[in-house]
Amino acid sequence: MQLFIFKQCTSILKATQQKAATIRELVLGIKEVSDASIFHHTYQYFLKGHILEYTNDFAQWVGEALEEKTLSEHLSIIDPYTFDKISELRTRIVGVIKDYLGHFPEPRPALRGNEFYFNESATIIFPTGIVAHNLAEFLQALKYVDSSSIYYHFYEGRSRGIYGPDDFSTWLSDKADEKELSERLRHIDPFMYDIESMRRLIVQIVEQRVQKDMETL
């Protein structure tokens, strides 16, 4: 079994100097901003450490600042992990908004001070100093590593390079010979949990496997 090196990440916000007060300005911004900005407002939504009733910053702003709940529902159902490229995700978001505007009246502008600010982030990845050599150590580490490590391996792992599975399930299937356990992690809906709830769920699933292992003759 090859070891699993737990890493963690920290990000810092950068302003893009682009903002939107209306839905049309939001569309314009989504078309124009960098891939890094689209990535930040969608994939990195989970870095904020809590989930409300939305799954990305665009849906949250449309729901909260424009009070356009139907559109925010349409935006929340977009799963960024099903796109191979940011450009495809960008096109989809714009398409959903345009389709909505074709059927519903134009929303009012956001109140002053509640505009959408397009940001990007810079990220530093660094080791936690924790390494797992087997499943029991892996379980122990999952319980105590910083939440940014869970984010890095479970969420960011899916969007690294080609969009694929998270780092945990990849290690379990490819290096730890735990294909069934790996499959269970791959079937978790990432949008339904904040990071700490996600940690508890993964711990619970791995713990069941370790317990079973302990009881096997």
Partner: protein, 405 residues
């Protein structure tokens, strides 16, 4: 002397680990901060705490303060006000004097360093005298709605820096340089935020003659109309019909604010003879008293109509209190409505949330715990040190959005 190790178990481990890693990469490099005062105001307060911590990390840290006369500081005060949207009169002579004083300082200050953080608009023209290093303008004030021609003058200097740092995304301005967002922070080990014993809290309550016989609503702020003290009294009266409680309005004496005395008189007059309203005028350096007041409160209010970042909100959240804040300035960056506190847009909204908190102690406790955890993860001084080093490192690796250390 305070050291980074003292924050172990208080700040997130990941922040401390990254600070050590970044400072190892930047070891023996020269880090210069320049501002316009050694004491008084939030910038000096945080630098006073931060400089010794950075110094202990193997960086060569200096803090320089520009010198100016009364005329200079009158001009910079007007610049400060105008950048926050207040109309002031300016002449070309005043701008020339602002530059000339900085030019004079540039001749006496040693501006050689690897990275130079220039804080706020007073010393912003120093960029004209750069010799070497990365120059970063750290803007602590809300410049989202400035008087435009004043911003044009300031941005003519700010735009020459390598990067700028603003406190909240909506405070950032359009410039063709890198702009980072770093929120202000509090120091959990300072007098204002460190843990207090029950005896210390009781001593403060007794000294201010605040009986702890019923729930305490607290607002700590300067006596300023933008902090809406009369609105807080009205919200308290709405609550009082349903829940017995006390209201404590605590603020510093506003000797430098000509309107301050008038506002205090108004508040006292408006409060009338209600024995459950306590209006406290605190002298400067009342940090420990403020700490104790926040810790004895059941609910903390910051019902501002206009606000900068609102560090009093952060302070109360760090003490695990449910905070009800106005939906303005930097307050929404701290309060996730219903999760880490409550955002309100009216006196009625404030009254309703206070009643909810007073009637559901379990919910209030949960919100307070979330608030403390949120501050721990986002608004402690160690996070700000981490981010300053991060910006420095990111600027040395310009163009990279992901860096591995």
């Amino acid at each position: 002397m305070i050291r980074l190790q003292d924050y172990t178990g208080i700040s997130p481990k990941t922040d401390l680990q990254l600070i050590y890693r970044l400072s190892a990469r930047l070891s023996r490099k020269r880090f210069l901060h320049i501002n316009s005062t050694k004491s008084g105001g939030g910038v000096a307060e945080i630098l006073n705490r931060m400089i010794p911590l950075l110094d202990g990390l193997g960086l060569v840290v200096r803090w320089e303060v520009i010198e100016g006369d009364q005329r200079f500081f009158t001009i910079t005060k007007k610049i400060h006000n105008s950048l926050q949207g207040l109309q002031e009169e300016f002449t070309d002579d005043m701008w020339a004097y602002h530059y000339a004083v900085n030019e004079k300082n540039a001749k006496t200050l040693d501006l050689n360093a690897d990275v130079i953080f220039v804080h706020d608009p007073q010393p912003v023209p120093l960029i004209r005298f750069r010799h070497s290093g990365l120059w970063i303008w750290r803007c602590h004030i809300d410049v989202s709605n400035p008087v435009e021609n004043v911003w044009e003058r300031v941005s003519a200097y700010a735009g020459k820096y390598d990067a700028a740092i603003f406190s909240v995304a909506k405070f950032a301005k359009q410039m063709s340089i890198d702009e980072f967002i770093i929120t202000p922070t509090i120091d959990p080990l300072s007098e204002k935020n460190k843990d207090l014993t029950e005896t210390e809290i009781t001593e403060v309550a007794d000294r201010f003659r605040i009986p702890r016989d019923k729930p305490i609503l607290l607002q700590v702020s300067r006596f300023d109309r933008f902090k809406d003290p009369n609105g807080v009294v009205r919200a308290y009266r709405m609550v009082k019909k349903y829940n017995d409680c006390r209201l404590v309005l605590a603020g510093s004496s506003a000797t430098d604010d000509p309107e301050g005395d008038a506002v205090i008189r108004e508040v006292k007059e408006f409060a009338g003879n209600d024995p459950d309203i306590h209006t406290l005028l605190l002298p400067a350096f009342s940090d420990k008293d403020i700490n104790a007041l926040q810790r004895m409160a059941t609910v903390v209010l910051q019902k501002s109509l206009k606000e900068g970042f609102g560090l009093t909100v952060t302070e109360a959240m760090w003490k695990g209190k449910p905070v009800i804040g106005g939906n303005v300035g930097g307050i929404p960056a701290q309060i996730i409505n219903g999760v880490t506190g409550f955002l309100v847009n009216s006196e009625e909204g404030a009254a309703f949330r206070i009643r909810q908190v007073l009637n559901d102690p379990d919910m209030a406790k949960g919100v307070g715990e979330n608030a403390k955890q949120y501050v721990r993860n986002h608004f402690l001084i160690t996070r700000q040190i981490r981010d300053y080093l991060f910006v420095w490192y990111a600027m040395l690796n310009k163009g990279s959005t992901v860096m591995e250390l």
